[in-house]
């Protein structure tokens, strides 16, 4: 409600400012003599920006400091002896009760008289401060409007100013990407640090047993060894790459070097469809089709393969990654200059000799980079593993057995019946951090390699 009022106010201010700047700029244009620098639209936008900023700043300041001020106000409303009788937890509870009273929510139990009066006082305090903030914002906006308007002259460079503002806005947008990273790191690190107050980091990073204890047995947190999860992750990734790399690479080679145009036109988008399929679909496919199939196939040849196992998840994940590998490889192969290929053909090399002896070695760094990117994707994949890997966080080397990965453990620990204040769920963030760091390193390394490769042939 309040925010609606504020938004409305800002809109009005904006319209007003634009209109006033515009008409002023327009007026300049009619007066002849000096050449007018900017068009009326720019003058309008200029004034609008000027008017908006102080108003926004005031509202922003209130958003920042308002809570603290309100808090102090509430404390001031509680009788001193009552405060002294309360510990920190009690005080917070009382404040929460007063806030609840003021906002119209009931509170449980009897309402103490001072709570009631504090609640009433808070309600009027909130109302008044709201009015003050709105008024201050409006006044600041209008003052700024007038100031900006007074600066408009024929030679005033409104366009440059507006463009600078646009520039800043664009800059801010590209800051979102930075903020995202900062957000990821900050949120992961703070929660992970909490986790490490329970569990020794060494036990986490080098522990070989993953057995977070049950929610019921407080004090005995269980074991949080990362290694079984890491091993599971690596095993599935390895299997996935064993599937995806040969198929993807050969498909890319065939499509880019051999396939007639029509086949390429059909096959390429069809393979790319694989890239568009949601991972949950792959997961379901793995669970209900691939897993049972592998189990039966294993039975036939006397192997005991679990329906949900590293193998199932790995194969399906490999399928998922095929288009990723193939389109990256395709790109890279196409970047190898034609002259190199011609050189080999000119010597009488066959097509496959050219590809194997010249093209691939030349493209190798780029392809390795592409594979690393694919690896980082496999490492971070979640849903296929959730559904098809069997979630068994035990350190063993058998791909026919279920495994658990980092990603799947994040999901399990954060959505299970775990104690939210204990390490059982906090470990999710430590795992997330680990995952983030792993993929970060892989990516940086891969990007580095790929970039070096591109430079070589630019």
């Amino acid at each position: 409600m309040n925010s609606l009022i504020i938004a409305g106010l800002l809109l009005v201010l904006l319209g007003l400012a634009y209109q006033s700047g515009w008409s002023r700029g327009r007026g300049l244009a009619t007066a002849d003599g000096v050449k007018v620098h900017s068009r009326p639209q720019y003058h309008g936008s200029y004034v609008a920006i000027w008017a908006l900023l102080p108003a926004l700043a005031i509202i922003g300041l209130w958003g920042w400091f308002g809570d603290g001020i309100t808090h102090n106000f509430i404390v001031s409303q509680i009788p001193v002896d009552a405060i002294q009788a309360l510990d920190q937890v009690g005080l917070n509870a009382t404040i929460a009760r007063i806030k609840a009273l003021a906002s119209g929510y009931g509170v449980a139990g009897d309402v103490l008289p001072y709570e009631q009066s504090a609640g009433d006082a808070l309600r009027s305090f909130q109302f008044i401060t709201f009015l003050i903030v709105v008024a201050a914002a409006a006044v600041a906006g209008i003052v700024a409007l007038l100031y900006a308007r007074s600066r408009i002259t024929a030679r005033h460079r409104a366009r440059n100013a507006v463009e600078r503002a646009i520039n800043l806005l664009l800059l801010a947008c590209s800051g979102v990407a930075i903020l995202t990273t900062v957000g990821i790191v900050a949120s992961l690190v703070t929660e992970a640090l909490k986790f490490f107050t329970f569990i020794n980091p060494l036990d986490f990073f080098f522990g070989t047993v993953w057995n977070p204890n049950n929610a019921g047995t407080a004090g005995n947190w269980g074991s949080y060894g990362l290694l079984p999860l890491l091993a599971g992750t690596l095993m599935i990734t390895l299997i996935a790459m064993l599937v995806a790399v040969p198929v993807g690479l050969m498909a890319a080679i065939y499509l880019s070097q051999y396939a007639p145009r029509q086949l390429r036109a059909v096959a390429k988008p069809l393979i790319e469809i694989l890239a568009g399929i949601p991972t949950i679909v792959f997961g379901f496919f793995a669970l209900v089709t691939v897993g049972p199939f592998l189990r039966d196939a294993g039975n036939l040849i006397g192997l005991s393969i679990n329906a949900t196992s590293a193998l199932t998840a790995g194969i399906v994940m490999g399928i998922m990654i095929i288009p990723f590998v193939s389109s990256l490889s395709d790109d890279i192969l196409n970047q190898v200059p034609r002259t190199l290929r011609d050189g080999a053909y000119g010597l009488g090399a066959t097509k496959s000799e050219t590809i194997r002896n010249v093209l691939l070695p030349a493209a190798l760094p780029g392809i390795v980079g592409a594979f690393l990117l694919a690896v980082s994707r496999a490492v971070g994949e979640t849903m296929i593993v959730v559904l098809a890997a069997g979630n068994s966080p035990v350190l063993r080397g058998n791909p026919f057995e279920p495994v658990a990965t980092i990603t799947v453990s994040i999901v399990n620990q954060l959505t299970g019946d775990t104690d939210f204040a204990g390490p059982q769920s906090l470990v999710g963030f430590a795992l997330g951090l680990t995952l983030f760091v792993i993929t970060l390193c892989l990516n940086i390394f891969a990007l580095f390699i790929v970039r070096r490769f591109r430079e070589q042939y630019e």
Binding site: G104, N213, G390
Partner: protein, 314 residues
């Protein structure tokens, strides 16, 4: 103007029951909207529940275990001071194996012997020697031991530990003179070669069973009920698990189910009281919940819970 939909989150065991009640509640009370039931586990639900009071916090947390003191403290610190506990029934936990396999009649002792990494033999703990069920007890099938039990992120695991393993260990008689740590270890260290811990849901356990038909899995009673065509249930202490046997207290492995209501939201968010009453009422919910596999609690217990709820903050 406040929110008009009741918001619920928490245990995935309670989720089906709560969802059914929510749906029926929405249908039966034209003036209220259908509550939203989120999952996220008992811990996740309580976490949201304890975030504070107000529109953007949930009203009810489903739990397959009782709230813990640490969680209560967190709640209080955030201003959630009026937490009303509602126990509404039981969840039966059963052992089931592939329908095509042999029958199992288990006791906690046998399960303990099958599962523990070390078992007491002649007053000393030795490495678990049993390979087949029939090694433990000749009455059991001549079949390799293989067990799929819930992972530690599940509430079910707690009951399993308490009612099966701890009980079995007691019967087996752990040697005297163990330190507390050794004692805990003896109870919680399982054989990794035959035991699989399932961190996913029961579908996962079912997949384990279908791929290795020798496996005995731990399921919720209601899950078993809906998949009788592929699963065969084992008796425990000779009792066949069923709604009746659990409700009567004959079947040993069960746990109470709860939800927690934020008292401070009553009267602000419309319909909370009605929802609770409806949940516990015989006519509307009882039938469908039972059909969905909830094991009802004695009527006196329900009356007691309802009375406590209506009486207000504890």
């Amino acid at each position: 103007q406040s929110r008009d939909t009741i918001q619920i989150a928490g245990s995935s065991t309670v989720l089906p029951f709560a969802s059914i009640v929510a749906e029926e509640f929405g249908a039966a009370f034209p003036e209220f909207k259908t509550p939203v039931v989120g999952s996220g586990g008992t811990g996740g639900g309580l976490k949201q529940f304890c975030e504070g009071v107000g529109d953007n916090t949930i009203d009810i947390a489903n739990a397959s275990r009782a709230i813990k003191d640490s969680e209560r403290e967190a709640c209080t610190a955030a201003g959630v001071t009026d937490i009303r506990e509602i126990q509404f029934g039981y969840d039966g936990i059963v052992f089931a194996s592939a329908a095509s396999g042999p029958d199992f009649a288990l006791t906690p002792l046998q399960v303990y012997k099958a599962i523990a990494a070390k078992v007491p033999v002649d007053g000393a703990l030795v490495d678990n020697p049993y390979k087949k069920w029939s090694d433990i007890d000749p009455s059991l099938p001549d079949q390799d031991i293989s067990l799929a039990i819930p992972g530690t992120n599940h509430g079910t695991r707690e009951v399993f530990q308490l009612e099966v393993i701890d009980a079995g260990a007691e019967e087996a008689g752990l040697p005297e003179g163990l330190t507390e740590e050794e004692h805990t270890a003896a109870l919680t260290t399982f054989r990794q070669d035959v035991v699989v811990e399932i961190s996913g849901d029961y579908t996962e356990t079912l997949a384990r069973l279908t791929s290795n038909p020798n496996t005995v899995g731990v399921f919720g009673l209601s899950f078993y009920d809906q998949n009788k065509d592929t699963l065969k249930v084992a008796t425990v202490n000779g009792v066949v698990p069923s709604n009746e046997s659990v409700a009567a207290g004959e079947y040993p492995v069960s746990r109470p189910l709860f939800f927690y209501v934020k008292g401070q939201h009553i009267g602000t968010i419309p319909g909370i009281e009605e929802y609770v009453q409806f949940f516990l009422s015989e006519a509307a919910a009882g039938g469908s919940l039972e059909a969905a596999g909830l094991i009802p609690q004695p009527e006196e217990k329900t009356a007691e819970v309802l009375a406590a709820f209506e009486a207000g903050a504890q």
